[in-house]
C-alpha cells in the first residue's frame, strides 16, 4: 500500500462539493481510501492517527485543500489523482470558469498537450521531484523554488541538457519566454536581443533599459543564481547561449551574472568565441580583458550592457537618449551636505541592483560594507547595523527567511530606512523600486509615509538628507510607472533614470574635496 498527497494552496470549495468529490474519489478503481479536506491541524491529526500522514500534508496550512489517496501502488495513486483532477475540472467548468487547474505535472501535460514549459514554485523539498517529472514529460522548466541541493540541481540540469530542454533554476525568479513574462519580470517590447541571466534583477534592469532605448527582447532565459559555480559548471548558461544562437529572431545575446568560477568562465568565454552572434557580457565586477580576448563585448555596468546590445542590434546612437548624469545637481547636493554627512546607505530589494551600486561606490571608497560583499573583511558583522558606506540587499536569504521577498513586502526595508535616516553621518540614501509582474502594486506608495517622516525629521535637525529613488519598470508594466515616479518627485526624492545612474549619483553626492 502506498499513500500520496497533493496540497492545493488557498483553495476553497463549498462543503457540498467537497463531500460529493470525496464520495466520488472513493469510488475510483484501485483507491482504498481518498480524503479531500481542509489542511487544519486537527484534520492532520486524524490523518496521522490512521497512518495517512505524508510530508506534503505535514506542511499544509488551514487554508489549503488536502487530497490524500491510499492505493496499492504509486501508479494507482497517480491515476487516482488524475481522476480526482478531472472531477475538480468538471466542478470548475460547471462554474463557467475558463481556467483549468491541474494538481500534477503529469495530468497538466496530458490535459494541455501543446504545453512545452512548466513553471514550478513548490517547497524546495519537493521541487526536484516535480522538476524531474516535468523534464520527463518533455517540458522546459522554470524552477522558482529555492532550497534545492547542489546535487539535485546538477542532476536536473544534466537531464535537461541530455533532452535538449531548458532547466531554468532552481531559484530562478525572472524569465521572458515567447514574449510572456514569467514570475518577476517586466512588460517589455518584443525585439531582437536575447538575454541569459544568472541574476534576476540584473536581467530585469537590462531588459528595461533595452526597452527604453526603443529595442526589445526575444527571450530572457534565467539560469538560477548558482549556475556559474564550479560544481554546476554553467550548464544552463551554456545551453542558453546555444538556444539563443539557434533562435533566428535573436540577433544579439547579452549575458548577465556575478563573476563566474574561473573554470566556468573559461567554458563560457570559449562558447562566446565560437558563437556566430555578437555577445555582450556584463559580469558584475568582471574582467574586461578576458571578454575582449574571447571576442565578446564587455560592459562594466547595466546601462552600458543595454546600450551596447541595442547598438549591435542596429539602433542609431545619435537617436538614443543616454540620460547622462545631472552634473549641476551633483554640485548642488554636495553643497547641501555637511562635512559629517559622509556616507551612502543603499537599501535595495534587488540583489544585482545592490551589487552594481556597491561596486560603483567601491571604485572611489575603500570602506564599503554589505551583507553581500564578496570580501569577508567588508561583510557586515551584523546585518542590522550599518558601517561607513553600507549597501543592503534585502532580498538576500538572511532577510527573507519566513518572509516574502522585499519586492512584495517592503516592511523590513521601511523600518531600516527610518533607522538609517536618523544617522547624522549619512548623506545619501539610495533605493530601488521594482515594478513588473509579481512585484508590489505600489512600491513607492508603501515607502512614502516613511520618506515624509524622515524628511521632516532631518529638517527639524537642520540637515539635508538626500534620497535617491530608482523605479525599475516600463510604461507597459501593470503598475503605473509615471505615477510611481511622480510620487517620488512630489516627496522631494531625486529620481535616477537607471540603476547605473542611481549608483553613480549616490557616489558623487558624497565625494568630498573634489
Amino acid at each position: 500500500m502506498t499513500v500520496q498527497a497533493i496540497v492545493k494552496p488557498n483553495t476553497y470549495f463549498d462543503s457540498v462539493s467537497l463531500m460529493s468529490l470525496s464520495t466520488k474519489a472513493n469510488q475510483i478503481d484501485g483507491v482504498e481510501q481518498a480524503i479531500i479536506a481542509m489542511g487544519t491541524e486537527m484534520n492532520k491529526e486524524v490523518m496521522k492517527n490512521v497512518g495517512l500522514m505524508t510530508p506534503e500534508v505535514e506542511v499544509a496550512k488551514s487554508s489549503d485543500l488536502i487530497i490524500v489517496v491510499k492505493a496499492e501502488t504509486d501508479d494507482l495513486c497517480e491515476s487516482a489523482f488524475m481522476s480526482i483532477d478531472e472531477l475538480f475540472t468538471k466542478k470548475d467548468t460547471s462554474k463557467g470558469k475558463s481556467e483549468i487547474k491541474y494538481s500534477t505535472i503529469a495530468s497538466a501535460a496530458q490535459g494541455i498537450p501543446e504545453a512545452n514549459l512548466a513553471v514550478i514554485a513548490v517547497n524546495g523539498a519537493y521541487a526536484p521531484r516535480e522538476a524531474r517529472k516535468a523534464l520527463e514529460n518533455n517540458l522546459h522548466v522554470m524552477l522558482f523554488s529555492d532550497n534545492v541541493s547542489i546535487e539535485d540541481e546538477i542532476e536536473l540540469k544534466k537531464l535537461a541538457h541530455e533532452k535538449g530542454l531548458l532547466m531554468m533554476g532552481p531559484d530562478c525568479g525572472t524569465a521572458i519566454i515567447g514574449n510572456v513574462a514569467l514570475c518577476f519580470a517586466n512588460a517589455v517590447r518584443k525585439g531582437s536581443i536575447g538575454i541569459v541571466g544568472a541574476s534576476g534583477t540584473g536581467s530585469q534592469e537590462v531588459s528595461v533599459r533595452i526597452h527604453e532605448f526603443g529595442c526589445g527582447i526575444t527571450q530572457m532565459i534565467g539560469t538560477g543564481g548558482r549556475d556559474l559555480r564550479e560544481e554546476i559548471g554553467g550548464i544552463m548558461m551554456l545551453d542558453g547561449i546555444k538556444a539563443l544562437e539557434e533562435d533566428e529572431a535573436t540577433k544579439v545575446i547579452v549575458l548577465i551574472s556575478k563573476p563566474p568560477a574561473p573554470s566556468v568562465e573559461e567554458k563560457v568565454l570559449a562558447q562566446i568565441k565560437q558563437c556566430k552572434k555578437p555577445v555582450v557580457v556584463w559580469f558584475v565586477g568582471g574582467n574586461e580583458e578576458k571578454v575582449k580576448q574571447a571576442g565578446g563585448h564587455f560592459a562594466k555596468m547595466s546601462k552600458e550592457a543595454a546600450l551596447k546590445a541595442v547598438l549591435l542590434a542596429g539602433a542609431e546612437e545619435n537617436k538614443l537618449n543616454k540620460r547622462a548624469l545631472n552634473i549641476p545637481l551633483i554640485e548642488e547636493v554636495r553643497a547641501k551636505l555637511t562635512p559629517e554627512q559622509k556616507y551612502i546607505r543603499g537599501l535595495f530589494s534587488g540583489g544585482t541592483l545592490c551589487d552594481e551600486a556597491m561596486h560603483t561606490a567601491m571604485e572611489k571608497f575603500d570602506n564599503v560594507y554589505s551583507n553581500i560583499q564578496r570580501d569577508p573583511n567588508y561583510r557586515l558583522k551584523d546585518k542590522n547595523i550599518s558601517q561607513d558606506h553600507t549597501f543592503i540587499d534585502f532580498g538576500d536569504d538572511e532577510f527573507t527567511q519566513g518572509k516574502p521577498h522585499p519586492m512584495i513586502d517592503p516592511s523590513t526595508r521601511i523600518s531600516r530606512f527610518i533607522q538609517e535616516a536618523k544617522d547624522p553621518s549619512v548623506g545619501v540614501i539610495v533605493m530601488d523600486f521594482v515594478l513588473g509582474y509579481g512585484a508590489h502594486e505600489d512600491p513607492v506608495g508603501a515607502m512614502l509615509p516613511a520618506i515624509m517622516e524622515v524628511k521632516q525629521l532631518a529638517e527639524q535637525e537642520g540637515r539635508h538628507l538626500e534620497i535617491i529613488g530608482y523605479v525599475l519598470g516600463t510604461e507597459l508594466d501593470p503598475q503605473n510607472l509615471e505615477e510611481q515616479v511622480e510620487k517620488l518627485l512630489a516627496a522631494g526624492v531625486t529620481r535616477a533614470s537607471s540603476n547605473q545612474n542611481a549608483g553613480l549619483l549616490a557616489r558623487e553626492f558624497v565625494v568630498k574635496g573634489e
Binding site: 457540498v16 467537497l18 472513493n26 480524503i35 487544519t40 490512521v50 488551514s62
Partner: protein, 290 residues
C-alpha cells in the same frame, strides 16, 4: 436586496477596499483591507448574515468574478473590479439580534426533545452525527475524535466549568470535513446560546472570545469569520429563526426553521443545530431547570 447594517454603513462611509478572497456559486467573500474581516456578497438563495449583502441574483457565476479582483466603494456603490456594481440605497437593513432567553423554559425543554428526534431522523451524518453506514478508517477516527471531544466539552459545560471547557472547545476547531469543519459549526451553535440575553450562561461570553482568540491558526479564514461573529452573538438569519422557534415556537414553527438550518452546507446545519442543543441544555442545567 438586503444586507447587514454594519456592512451597508461601511459602504455609505466609503471605508471598504479589498480584494476577492474566495468565490462560490452562491457567495463571494471579500477580504477587507481596513479591518481584515471577510464580507460576503450572497445570491438571493442565501439568507442574511453578519457582514453579508444579499443581492437580487440567483447565482453569482454569471459575473465571472475571480479571486484577487479589486473591491472598492465609490459614490456609495460597491464595485468588484469592473464586473459588478452594487447600489445599496434601496437595500433593506438587517441586523443580527438574538431573542432573549425565556423565564419559563418548559417550551425550550419540549422543543429540544423534538429537535433531537428530528435530527436523529433527518439530520445529515458525516460530521457530529455519526454515519450508520460503513465508514473508512479516516471517517471512523474523525467520528471518534468529534464524539470524544464533544462529550468532554458537554460535561464541563453542564457543570458550569467553562475554564475547563476551553481546552475541549479549542480541540474541536478545524476538526472535520467540509469548508467549515464540523467542530467549528458545532461551536457556532454553542456560542449562539451563550449569547442569549438573560440566559444562565450569558455572563460567560468571555468563554467564546477566549476560544476565538485561539482559533485563527486552527481553521480557515471563512470558518474563522463565522466563529468570530458567533462569539459575539452575530449569526445567520436562519439560525436566529431557529433559536426563536426553540425558545418560543410551536412544533410546526420549529420544524420549519430547523429544516432551513439543516439545509446549510453538507453536514454544517446539523452540526450547528447540535451545538445549539448542547448550549441550551447547558443553560437549562446551569439555570437549575434540567
Amino acid at each position: 436586496m438586503s444586507g447587514d447594517l454594519g456592512f451597508i454603513e461601511r459602504i455609505n462611509i466609503s471605508s471598504l477596499t479589498g480584494f476577492v478572497h474566495s468565490t462560490f456559486r452562491r457567495t463571494i467573500n471579500i477580504q477587507c483591507k481596513e479591518n481584515g474581516e471577510l464580507f460576503t456578497i450572497a445570491s438571493s438563495q442565501v439568507d442574511n448574515g453578519p457582514n453579508s449583502l444579499v443581492i437580487n441574483a440567483a447565482s453569482l457565476d454569471e459575473f465571472n468574478i475571480d479571486v484577487n479582483e479589486a473591491v472598492f466603494v465609490k459614490n456609495k456603490m460597491l464595485f468588484i473590479s469592473n464586473k459588478l456594481a452594487i447600489v445599496i440605497d434601496k437595500a433593506d437593513k438587517w441586523e443580527s439580534i438574538l431573542p432573549e432567553y425565556p423565564s419559563n423554559t418548559q417550551n425550550v425543554i419540549r422543543n429540544i426533545k423534538k429537535m433531537k428526534e428530528y435530527i436523529d431522523n433527518h439530520g445529515k451524518a458525516g460530521g457530529m452525527k455519526k454515519k450508520l453506514s460503513s465508514q473508512s478508517p479516516y471517517e471512523t477516527e474523525l467520528s471518534r475524535l468529534l464524539e470524544e471531544r464533544t462529550i468532554l466539552l458537554e460535561k464541563e459545560l453542564l457543570n458550569n466549568r467553562l475554564a475547563h471547557a476551553l481546552q475541549h472547545a479549542v480541540s474541536l476547531i478545524g476538526l472535520g470535513p467540509g469548508l467549515t469543519p464540523s467542530g467549528d459549526d458545532f461551536l457556532v451553535g454553542l456560542f449562539t446560546t451563550i449569547n442569549l440575553r438573560n440566559s444562565p450562561l450569558y455572563s460567560q461570553q468571555s468563554f467564546c472570545e477566549e476560544v476565538v482568540q485561539r482559533a485563527k491558526p486552527l481553521t480557515n479564514e471563512i470558518s474563522y469569520m463565522a466563529l468570530k461573529k458567533a462569539s459575539i452573538g452575530k449569526v445567520r438569519e436562519s439560525i436566529i429563526h431557529l433559536v426563536h422557534s426553540i425558545l418560543y415556537g410551536k412544533e410546526s414553527d420549529l420544524y420549519l426553521s430547523l429544516n432551513k438550518v439543516l439545509n446549510i452546507g453538507s453536514s454544517s446545519g446539523t452540526d450547528i443545530a447540535l451545538g445549539l442543543i448542547c448550549g441550551l441544555e447547558a443553560n437549562l442545567r446551569v439555570g437549575g431547570q434540567l
